[in-house]
Amino acid sequence: MLAFSVKRLLVALLVAITVSIISFTLLRMTGDIAAEMAGEDASAADIEDIRHLYGLDRPLPIQYFEWAARALTGDLGESLYFRRNVTELLGGRMKVTMTLGASALVFALVLAIPLGVVAAIRPNTWIDRLALTTSVFGQALPSFWFALMMMILFGVTLRWLPISGSETWKHFVIPTIALGYYGTPAFMRLTRAGMMEVLASDYIRTARAKGLGSLSIFFKHALRNAIIPVVSLAAVQLGFLLGGSVIMESIFALHGLGYLAYESILRSDVAVVQAVVLIFSLFYIVLTLFADLLNGFLDPRIRIG
């Protein structure tokens, strides 16, 4: 298990380095931060002046290795656009994105798992159809459209919730629902399918024969097994939700990491993009490991294997 984990970690690290080199190269090939810094009314000479002053005219490998050497010591460099330390810049942003991503995931799970369980317990009934409809809507509605509709209803017409900013928990309610709803269908279908399969298995029949109560059968015996794939999916879905948060952050002016990364790509702000790529790569590694360990906890067969 240890050798397996170390191997996984090494591969992940190589992936992170490769992604970092590719993103650095692509950014520099497609954008020009000197032009961004100089502004719209800048002449070609102004842009060249900025490029030279900030050392952006040096060979790309030198610029990359300088960044990499500093990153190894924990210094992620300085954003050329914001002129601030990247670590400091990302700190506040990460909190917003993680809050949104985690709350959206929790919302999706809280909505999807009970729906999936109920749909599995009462297959082909109106409850099942309702759960399926809810799920289909989540899949079909573009999240930005759903977000704007909720903004109009709850923010503008009813004035129950704030429309933009991240100052209080209330600011996260609409973005969380809009983002989380998008993640609901996959969880719901997986829970439903898993529960139906488990409920048809021999050991559940045995449990019923022993006279165990329905709640005990559903939640103690069936759900624990049915939910294992959901845990693995949750790690992947969190990645999608973090990616999708770019749109929510933009619509609701949340100023999170996703929006910063998106804007930094457009601005060719290499230091920020590189740092975000590094952070997300590490985040995925940790998430995947966490999912493996959790699966091992839930299913002893995995631990033994």
Partner: protein
């Protein structure tokens, strides 16, 4: 996001909110909240060239002189008087009794420090004008300085009145530097900053000790908050619910909807930005039909600028005939030809140029797609089968400039705001003096502009600029379209007047 979808949603918002209850908290709290789209990197305007940075800088810091947006005249501000000593030296007498927000007194040391900081390449300021124009600053007394210029720059007063040359407190900036100034900006301006979260929000409070005799006057509103909201639809929603009091760059369709809301005022105002169709007369893009004068004239007659200005741009847009904004020094169209909309004439000119059946050509644009599409339509009607290539500004700018010699564009629709500089050196000289942006390469034009740019006498300057502008029009290097109009929307409790230089002055705004 899809533009049409944004318009649809904005329309829905507009309709939904006609009967929505209002919650205008701005006046009640004496707090004006305004918003912009872009996350701004710095408050320190020496390191921020953006429009939003300039807007906030005008509240926090001051310049030596103030350009009155009403008539573009220069007024004493931090300097009470100025005088040219020779073509390369300008003396400023500084105002006494002025204090920075931290209590530091303003004097000649601050001016010397600020201007020489901007002139020093080691400081890597984003504003390049200090490096371009300023050689050194000589302190002549506690409140008198002499600025030595590198080159004769007759329009230098424009820069002394701009955000490029704001005056910082030398002791404070020497101690805290750029990062300190970003987080706790200190100036002499009518507002002081109480809180900054870079890129997100800045809170300002009226500086009651702002100096007597200030051309800006004292602030009328107690608190001003600048909030970044990237999405335009969200901005509109916030305006409608009272979350913000003022937005700008409202597109015409949104403006129409917002006008129907009784709680809002929507105004359209002319700006210093102009649009033009550029034609590669020099043949930098190869053997283009645009090298022929008659083809360029045909293009100029083919486009109905009046109709576009009235029906597409709206507001304060007006057709122009020379390559500059009317209020700019030297902008004189009295001798320039007028290219009236005349398709028959355009077809005739094309035939005379050897294109009786027209020709195919790529047409580049980067903003206001409806305008670009209208131009394509007009060109098609006379036989110029223009194919629209719409792209981001910086990508198009790269194509125009090419390697400095060759260019990839021969026909394009562009705009220029002159950086709010009220002098044609910021536009005509920028494009017609053989820089990489110059697709025309006319030596006569270049020489006239060069004389205008480097002569102190206003009379000589004006005469040379007039000749240059007339020739540009005669040769149809550009077809100047019209001035740009900007829509502002704000709570109707606010008394706000937009200006042509696109720098909203919140320090003159007040509650009704």
């Amino acid at each position: 996001m899809n533009k049409h979808l944004i318009l649809l949603l904005a329309s829905m918002l507009g309709v939904a909110l006609l009967w929505a209850p209002s919650a205008w908290a701005g006046k009640a709290n004496d707090t004006l909240v305004y918003t912009s789209e872009r996350e701004e990197p710095n408050i320190d305007v020496w390191y921020n060239s953006s429009r939003e940075g300039i807007v906030v800088s005008r509240m926090i810091w001051d310049q030596l002189i103030y350009r009155d947006p009403k008539d573009m005249s220069y007024k004493p501000h931090l300097a009470t008087a100025w005088e040219w000593k020779n073509n390369l030296a300008l003396d400023f007498t500084l105002r006494k009794g002025v204090k920075f927000h931290n209590g530091e007194p303003f004097d000649a040391d601050d001016v010397k420090f600020s201007l020489e900081f901007l002139a020093d390449p080691a400081n890597k300021t984003i504003s390049t004008y200090g490096r371009k124009f300023i050689k050194s600053v000589e302190k002549l007394g506690s409140h008198k300085v002499r600025v030595h210029l590198k080159v004769i720059t007759p329009h230098i007063l424009e820069y002394f009145a701009s955000s490029d040359f704001v005056i910082y407190p030398n002791e404070y900036y020497g101690k805290v530097g750029n990062k300190g100034m970003d987080l706790k900006p200190i100036g002499t301006g009518p507002y002081r900053v109480t809180f900054v979260d870079p890129g997100k929000i800045a809170k300002l409070e009226r500086f009651d000790d702002h100096f007597e005799g200030s051309a800006k006057g004292k602030g009328k509103i107690k608190h001003i908050v600048w909030k970044t909201i990237p999405d335009k639809v969200t901005q509109v929603a916030e305006l409608l619910t009272g979350g913000v009091d003022w937005i700008w760059r409202v597109n015409p369709d949104q403006a129409k909807n917002l006008k129907r809301n009784p709680n809002l005022t929507v105004v359209s105002s002319e700006t210093m930005r102009i649009g033009y169709v550029g034609m590669d007369a020099a043949g930098r893009s190869g053997d283009s039909p645009m090298k022929k004068l008659k083809v360029r004239q045909a293009v100029s007659h083919a486009i109905n600028r009046e109709a576009m200005a009235k029906n597409l741009a709206g507001g304060g847009a007006r057709v122009i005939h020379v390559a500059c904004f009317p209020s700019q020094f030297g902008c004189n169209d009295s001798a320039a030809p007028r290219y009236e909309y005349n398709q028959a004439k355009a077809r005739k000119l094309l035939a005379e140029a050897g294109y009786p059946n027209g020709f195919d050509i790529d047409f580049y644009a980067y903003r206001e797609r409806p305008y670009a599409e209208a131009i394509v339509g007009y060109l098609h009607e006379v036989g110029i089968r223009a194919k629209l290539k719409f792209m981001k500004y910086k990508a198009l700018r790269g194509k125009v400039r090419g390697d400095g010699k060759k260019s990839e564009t021969s026909l394009l629709f562009m705009t220029w705001g002159s950086g709010s500089v009220n002098d044609i050196s910021a536009i005509t000289s920028f494009f017609f003096k053989f820089s990489s942006d110059d697709l025309y390469r006319d030596e006569k034009v270049r020489d006239w502009l060069q004389t205008g740019d480097t002569t102190v006498s206003p009379k000589v300057r004006a005469a040379n600029y007039k000749q240059a502008l007339t020739r540009i029009a005669e040769q149809a290097y550009w077809l100047p379209l019209y001035t740009w109009s900007m829509n502002y929307a704000f709570t109707n409790e606010l008394d706000f007047t937009p200006t042509t230089d696109e720098i909203p002055r919140f320090f003159t705004a007040k509650w009704k």
